[in-house]
Symmetry: C2
Subunit: 375 residues, 2 copies
Amino acid sequence: MRIRDLPTPALLLDDARMERNIRRLSTRLAAHGVGFRLHAKTLKCVEAARRAMTAPHGPVAVSTLAEAEWFADGGVHDICYAVGIVPCKFERALALRRRGVKLSLLLDSAEAARALAAFGEARDHAFDVLLEIDCDGHRSGLSPESAGLGEAAGVLAAHGQHVAGVLTHAGSAYDLAAPSARAFAALAEQERSAAVAAASALRAAGHACPVVSVGSTPTALFCQDFSGLTEVRAGVHVVQDLVMAGLGVCAVEDIALSVLCTVIGRRESDGALVTDAGWTALSRDAGLPGRFADVGYGLVLAEDGTLLAGLRVAETNQEHGVITARPKSATPAFPVGTPLRILPVHACATASGFDAVHLCRGAETMDVWTRCRGW
Amino acid sequence: MRIRDLPTPALLLDDARMERNIRRLSTRLAAHGVGFRLHAKTLKCVEAARRAMTAPHGPVAVSTLAEAEWFADGGVHDICYAVGIVPCKFERALALRRRGVKLSLLLDSAEAARALAAFGEARDHAFDVLLEIDCDGHRSGLSPESAGLGEAAGVLAAHGQHVAGVLTHAGSAYDLAAPSARAFAALAEQERSAAVAAASALRAAGHACPVVSVGSTPTALFCQDFSGLTEVRAGVHVVQDLVMAGLGVCAVEDIALSVLCTVIGRRESDGALVTDAGWTALSRDAGLPGRFADVGYGLVLAEDGTLLAGLRVAETNQEHGVITARPKSATPAFPVGTPLRILPVHACATASGFDAVHLCRGAETMDVWTRCRGW
């Protein structure tokens, strides 16, 4: 089938670029002898995950319990739910564990540990629990030196829960003031050393702490020293996006995801192209405020994947995208009905609007894969 | 059922606020004797639309053909697909027409008119076609004086298609430099006069042009003169949002939509609250750049709907929201597991992440309604 025969907007996944992106990281991690856990939150798609996982059953990290259930249904049974667990999600997590899924849970306080430990004890179940470590002040987690770390682990162990290890994520990688290979390598070392320090502290307190998990796409791709780590997590590297290209993590030509759209018309006043890919298809994610402003809500490809240099999605409404060149007068007058493809600013956000992704090679589609949605 | 028993994140719709919002506009339009066409793109929910439509069968405007099919399945049979039609969507539009749905289509060029006319003629079908008018340079449409207007209508009529009328949308209402009741009234007059002028031009050329349709929530609520109009379209007025409150179109207390979330933890470094409502639940829509910065990605309510003054969602990641007060030290230390509600910046974008909406009164849920998704 030709991609131009798909109803638009549609999410396209370039097979060759995806394979190249997957190999780039897997080759690197294999050379260093460290494990890999795919973060599946970008595509949320079992078929795509099978390309990137080290084995058909995993391992993966997920961002919702709906994903955990989706991947379990797809035969993946080593799953880390990498968002802090709260009481309203205990029952669903237990149901997955009782199905035989090796599901690990995450938390970052003695308070959360007490709630989970009480539930586990009451239900006669030992959960595998990872303690979230803060390596860069990005979002959440305990610092490796925090008294809360030993306290949380102690609460879990005292109530028969399994302290499976530590997990950290250098989310500040996406926000570096001066991104470079050297800066990512330095951040990766900060991520590694925080995780290893936390694991050492827990081991000193008598917890075996078998898992030491780190990761983000930039740190995974530029890390120089993996010692003390058992696994690296990454996900967006499979498809890449304009944020990653803007950070220098990949080239624009590596981006494997795009949104197929159709030209609806041309604005009378300035010749801008209006398409049917608005923010429901592209998302309103324009990267970090003030960064990557030159790509707007996405760069533009021809139907066959060739970059149309100088064009970008300058505006989005719910079901309208507005494409302009700079200067606007240079915007080409494509006819109504012309298919175009938009490269995503943030692949996770763009993919989240779609229920399926079309695998393609050039201007042909090979397969259609269903995505998990919701929570 | 108590809302705190829902899995989070969940989309909540306050019944009383919705009813008040619906009455505010319906009372106004009834007093002026002008028709009302609900734009269903915010909630995309048949049950909610039944509260706002003037009759169980419509009329509605929709932003995707998936919505048109969804509403047709729900018994609504007067539907305007208010986004420019392109060839890859002709077959689905025809299928709806052949089911007996009074579906009108939109276009804004002789080029698009030629494509649709050729298809209609080949399939022996007369479509109802609205010509899109540009009243404010916002996005798309023909100016009332454009030669393209008569040309498009002429092409349609010559090939047996029905020139049903004109439609315009003052999208710049959301972007006024100095929003006020007076400014919205002036823009409404600009919207009205553009539509009426276009209809007059078409009538002078021999087209009956029965429909003269205008609308946006701000112009609908502040319009002073509806003469010459047959219908007003609005949609977000049903639930309102922080953009509308920021523009002075409604009060924060009118916002009927919120996202229920759960406190996952507190950031060690600054006491920020971390919740499970990230951008998949709230969207990355932060309103217009530089506007409404004080609301971040949303304001915060207690479980019962009481505004927690001073709190806002300052950051969002995929499945994490970060809530802070200003100063951050004033952020309350809610326990892990606390349910909170987030008011949306842009209701359409926030709702788009959810497959269902929970109707609620106070802290109790009354019903759950399914939403249309995709295209």
